[in-house]
């Protein structure tokens, strides 16, 4: 990594650490998908496979870690296929701004011949306009492994999101810039000039026996996520800008969609399909795919959107506190169609604690709450603090109400 980028990354991580962090209970969520996947790419035989995809996420204060992998039944043997490990460190929001440092380790697997790994790091600055919209700027670098045609990848982009009714609309722009590496010899082993090897006529540099050429392209992508009751749907479409040398015709446009129907609190049917564009930075071709299967969520993961909407805590239809061990209380609320539920009270020093999703509509937090009378507030999707349902309440003196919790 060049020195300026190292400096920028070090400073960004330092700033994230120096901003005072609010305490929040660590939460662990997981799910597993089982189903069939069908893929096809030009010039290849369509592949069908049975897949198992576990997904694990951890959130504790400013730290977020997510791991997801999939295993395909390839013939008679299981093959570890696509997967990623992501860690993100986030600062609190101050003056509508939030900084985030993200590191990823990922594996892409198309077939035995087409697969590689990549490590990347990026910094993001989020600007939150309101509970219903925001944007971010990002910059980062990626280093693929086992790819013969690419050195490293610089990424820069921006995105914006907004909430319209029950739908979340997200738009992103991402620019990729990297160096392609090609041999300066033809297939017979004869040396050729890099200009001759470069069919597009763009100038290339010679480095030993290789020709180096800067490539860049930009992706514009729109995503919509909608959920209502037991039904969720996500769809995305995009367009790729770039020279013909960098963008193959089959990757100019793409679209895909996934629908999820929750059959119970912990089981959902998932069906999806569409077209994925090529990833030249990783040497992966465009492909069509379809998948269908069941998702089991004993501790279901958060939904992909992370967009606050203004909902009332009174939409909760159940609130319960019971003993969970010697010193902990399990606080549970039931509410559907929301992205986040938080609570705070005198037992948290009035620090916000994020609750973890434990079922389709069930949210939970384990907290040390001593016997006695406590005051508590909850909020949904970053909305107004309110007393939880089923608790006596009183005015808090700050133009709101606070719930009274009696722990025996």
């Amino acid at each position: 990594m060049p020195a300026p980028k190292l400096k920028a990354a070090v400073i960004a991580l330092g700033l994230v650490q120096l901003v005072p962090q609010r305490e929040a209970a660590a939460q662990l969520v997981s799910r597993i998908e089982a189903g069939a996947i069908v893929t096809s790419a030009p010039g290849t035989v369509p592949a069908n496979a049975f897949s198992l995809t576990p997904d694990l996420r951890y959130e504790g204060g400013p730290l977020r870690i997510a791991a997801r992998g999939s295993a395909w039944l390839d013939g008679q043997a299981w093959q570890v296929a696509d997967g990623y490990l992501t860690a993100a460190l986030s600062s609190p929001t101050r003056y509508h701004l939030r900084a985030e440092a993200i590191g990823d380790l990922s594996r892409a697997f198309y077939d035995r011949e087409t697969r590689n790994d990549q490590i990347d790091a990026q910094a993001r600055v989020h600007l939150v306009f309101s509970q219903r919209g925001g944007m971010w700027l990002s910059s980062g670098i990626a280093r693929p492994w086992r790819v013969a045609v690419v050195s490293s990848v610089d990424m820069a982009g921006a995105g914006a999101w907004t909430q319209v009714g029950g739908a979340t609309l997200t738009g992103t722009y991402t620019n990729f810039s990297f160096t392609r590496i090609a041999s300066a010899h033809d297939s017979a082993g004869n040396a050729e000039s890099c200009t001759a090897r470069n069919l597009s006529g763009v100038a290339a540099q010679v480095a030993g026996n290789d020709c180096l050429r800067q490539s860049r392209f930009s992706d514009v992508q729109g995503t919509v996520h909608f959920e209502k009751g037991f039904f969720e749907v996500s769809a995305q479409t995009g367009y790729r800008f770039g020279a013909d040398y960098d963008v193959t015709p089959d990757s100019r446009r793409w679209a895909s969609a996934t629908a999820t129907v929750w059959l119970s609190q912990v089981v959902a049917a998932v069906v999806g399909g569409g077209r994925q564009p090529a990833n030249p930075a990783r040497g992966l071709p465009a492909r069509n795919y379809a998948n269908f299967g069941l998702m089991f969520s004993p501790w279901p993961a958060m939904t992909s959107g992370n967009v606050p909407v203004d909902l009332r805590a009174s939409a909760m239809h159940d609130f319960d506190v019971d003993q969970a061990g010697a010193s902990l209380q399990r606080v549970q609320v039931q509410i559907s169609g929301v992205q986040s539920v938080e609570l705070m009270g005198d037992f948290t020093g009035w620090e916000t604690v994020a609750m973890a999703r434990r079922g389709r509509d069930l949210w939970e937090a384990l907290l040390p709450i001593a016997p006695g009378v406590h005051q508590i507030n909850v909020r949904v999707d970053g909305g107004k603090w309110q007393p939880p349902p089923g608790t006596p309440a009183m005015h808090d003196g700050f133009n709101g109400d606070v719930g009274i919790l009696v722990i025996h």
């Binding site: 070090v10 330092g14 650490q17 005198d346 020093g349 009035w350 005051q375 009274i404 009696v406």
Partner: protein
């Protein structure tokens, strides 16, 4: 040269990043986030509470609540002062043996408009029994629109008749349900109160 500067900068930032949370934990400030004038006012109230033997935790908690809810410092200081005065009156009403929970509940009831005489009646009806939950329910009922005399009288009768915490919480849930369904708050309370059986023998009812 640049590499050396970068390494030193990285080392310094890493040290500060690792050391800052530890240093911060050594000296937690329970009322951080207040402006100097409001902080001074709250600290004076905390000193007064300590001097009078009143619990300071409810005052600290109310300060933290106000800061978390982004209330202006002046308002926070004012609300903390109200809590302090309520705690003082609650202690006078319930006596020096009252627990912190009882004081907090009584302070909440006083802030909701319950007269101290009604709280004293509850205390006298069953001396030695914690009066926390009846006070919590009483404060809530008045907040929901039940006339304070009606609420005070109904809760006192139930309490004197031997009703327990579960009875009061069940009563509260029923009244809340009825109010949400459109019943007048006072009617809802009186109707639900009739469903709670008298648990003490008549000779024990004061």
């Amino acid at each position: 040269m640049n590499g050396r500067i970068t390494r030193r900068l990285a080392a310094a930032l890493a040290f500060v990043a690792l050391a800052a949370p530890a240093l911060a934990q050594q000296d937690p400030d329970p009322i951080a986030g207040l402006d100097p004038a409001s902080r001074h006012a709250v600290e004076a109230l905390l000193d007064s509470a300590r001097a009078e033997g009143l619990p300071t935790q409810p005052l600290i908690s109310k300060t933290q609540e106000g800061v978390s809810k982004h209330a202006p410092g002046k308002l926070i200081a004012s609300v903390v002062r109200t809590v302090f005065l309520s705690l003082r009156e609650a202690r006078t009403t319930l006596g020096p043996l009252a627990t912190r929970d009882e004081l907090t509940a009584a302070a909440g009831a006083l802030q909701a408009g319950i007269p101290s005489a009604a709280i004293a009646d509850l205390r006298d009806a069953r001396r030695g029994k914690p009066v926390t939950v009846p006070l919590v329910v009483l404060a809530d009922l008045v907040t929901r629109g039940v006339p304070r005399d009606t609420a005070s009288r109904a809760i006192l009768q139930l309490w004197a008749g031997g009703a327990g915490d579960a009875d009061f919480l069940g009563l509260w849930r029923g009244v809340e349900q009825d109010i949400v369904s459109g019943a007048a708050p006072a009617d809802a309370l009186l109707t639900r109160a009739r469903e709670i059986p008298v648990r003490l023998p008549p000779s024990k009812i004061p």
